[in-house]
Amino acid sequence: MAEFKETSPDAPLSEKTLTWIDNRFPLSKLYKEHLSEYYAPKNFNFFYFFGALSLLVLVIQIVTGIFLVMHYKPDAALAFASVEYIMRDVPYGWLIRYMHSTGASAFFVVVYLHMFRGLIYGSFRKPRELVWLFGCAIFLALMGEAFMGYLLPWGQMSYWGAQVIVNLFSAIPFIGPDLALLIRGDYVVGDATLNRFFAFHVIAVPLVLLGLVVAHIIALHEVGSNNPDGVEIKAHKDENGRPLDGIPFHPYYTVHDILGVTGFLLVFCAIIFFAPEFGGYFLEYNNFIPADPLKTPAHIAPTWYFTPYYSMLRAITNEMIYALILCVLAAAHLGATKAKISTLLKGVVVGTAVVAVALMLAIDAKFWGVVVMGGSVVILFFLPWLDRCEVKSIRFRPDWHVYLYAIFVVNFFVLGYLGMQPPSYIGERVSQVGTLFYFGVFLLMPWWSTLGQTKPVPDRVNFVAH
């Protein structure tokens, strides 16, 4: 506990008040630790806007969400009409609703860019593993939040999207059908589903999200921010113990982020006011038709931010299982012949592979599709232990690492595009190659990240004054 401070009787009221609070709550301490004396590297670039922007979008979603809940009715018979009521009869309801619907997509845009930044500059590497893990958990919670929120307008896409995704759970052996029933609360998506998704969307998941965001920021401020050069600024400090390449977050990055926020709002508001449907990507046209359990739309696709994973789900066909079995066998062969591990461990590797192959042959491909879809997100959690390159930042890695990440991004877009399209033969083949590439990048990372000649990492950060 800090020492109890006394103020002189003729100190100004503001000082007295602050001292009174500081004696009871670490206000000045928190302000210093997280803002005025939190030293962030001075060489942040464009990609470093997206952390602050994610926080901004979170606040937008919570505030607009509160106002939407005041008028929305979580009832299968009333939900669609209540959304139209918000769009028409609630003063500026259309603005609140468009902010929320555009905010959902904007959230994924900024979070994807934020994660991509972490990926290329090695922000997940030691000692920032927990920052990354909390971040991945936030992403997972965000996906749940978006999925459940999408059911609420109770349009055709809401309904059938939820139907398709919840049905996936029934592919899990033994517990699947009961699990799907538990999630739906009914044999088809219905009023019970809408009510529980509403409860999760407005209470449970936001609470988890907020907690995780706090943990993410506390962990970050404990270890300090990484930067585009991936060098530790704490290695060089002045006589006061301040990093030489660090600058106080406030005011330097607060004014910087105001600029970033304005740029973001220009794009965000342009969409809200001039193209709120964003060509059917942010608000799908089909979702202006009320949910009809008797009329299945010809083509059901999730919202754009889920389509890469949906693509990977659809890529796992019976034929693809054989390709995956080949991959498992090849990995087991490598493990048994090349790896420098004990004979006992080699036996375990081969045994596991045999069991895996047996299961892959025994259980329906649909289940493995679900596993792959889940795995495509879960694998992100392991990134800190998969990447074994000597240097953190892409700037000092071999050139071909840059190309590999570029292909990874293009592959992600291609998978996303294919996930929006109706199934086709060519599309299926491309998405299968894309899926193998996606997982290949991560699973082979311990190997490929050590290859090639890295460039010398400077002692201090590169910075050109503005």
Partner: protein, 251 residues
């Protein structure tokens, strides 16, 4: 980074045009009259007289029509048939069962129909504009009508008195080495109350009304949006200079 952006452009450039038109006939572009109050009012009149008997617009209130320049009295005197309260929504007395018996399906609510029918081939307005202008006589159908934009449609040609009766003319062309029937135009079999141009204008007014009704706030939205963008642009300059003045100390 540059490579990444170039490849991204290439991928999107190849991918996006693949949203090809899959409709039966290419959609005509609906004229945009969303700021033309007399056209919207005419559209509202046609909507109430011809559509709002089988189709409801259950999320739309009559008195919202004040946004397109009508007064409560005008609405009461000319447009209220199904209710006597100007604050009511546009409901109908036909029920779903009757709809199913008479047309094989319940006529959909039209409040947001213009938004829901958008797609790769054109906007919802384009679709309805084309649909209402491609009805033709087909005695093989229960209603005696068929449609080029929506083949085997359940709805009869409600506006036929205005348009008259028509039939499509096909010509034979060779496609991929096979003789194929291709739509070549229309033949008027009986005249309507309107000329072809008058009819197109009336449908355009109706479509614009439907487009407006699907989102009555849309004109307000754009108008506010312009001011928001102007504010943000000016604020951007301030934020930029503020940032620069702080950061000039950082070397």
């Amino acid at each position: 980074m540059k490579n990444f952006l170039i490849s991204l452009c290439l991928v999107l450039g190849v991918a996006l045009p693949a949203f090809a038109n899959t409709d039966t006939i290419p959609l005509d572009k609906a004229p945009n009259k969303l700021n033309d109050l007399s056209a919207l009012q005419n559209g509202a009149k046609i909507f109430v007289n011809y559509c709002l008997n089988c189709h409801a617009a259950a999320y739309m209130r009559f008195n919202r029509l004040k946004d397109i320049g009508l007064t409560d009295k005008q609405i009461k005197d000319n447009l209220l048939f199904t209710t006597d309260k100007v604050g009511d929504t546009m409901k109908i007395s036909m029920d779903a069962k009757q709809g199913k018996d008479w047309f094989g399906g319940n006529p959909p609510d039209l409040t947001v129909i213009a938004r829901s029918r958008s797609g790769p081939g054109g906007t919802g307005a384009d679709y309805i504009y084309t649909y209402l202008r491609t009805y033709y006589r087909d005695d093989t159908k229960a209603t005696g009508w068929n449609n080029l934009a929506y083949p085997n449609v359940g709805m009869p040609h409600v506006l036929w008195e205005l348009q008259g009766q028509r039939r499509p003319v096909y010509k034979e062309v060779i496609q991929h080495g096979h003789p194929t029937q291709v739509f070549a135009g229309w033949q008027q079999t009986t005249p309507g109350k309107m000329t072809s141009i008058e009819y197109d204008t009336a449908v355009a007014d109706l479509v614009n009304y439907l487009q407006w009704m699907s989102e009555p706030a849309q004109n307000t939205r754009v108008r506010i949006g312009v001011w928001v963008m102007l504010f943000l642009l000016i604020f951007m300059v301030i934020a930029w200079r503020l940032n620069a003045s702080y950061w000039k100390d950082i070397r």
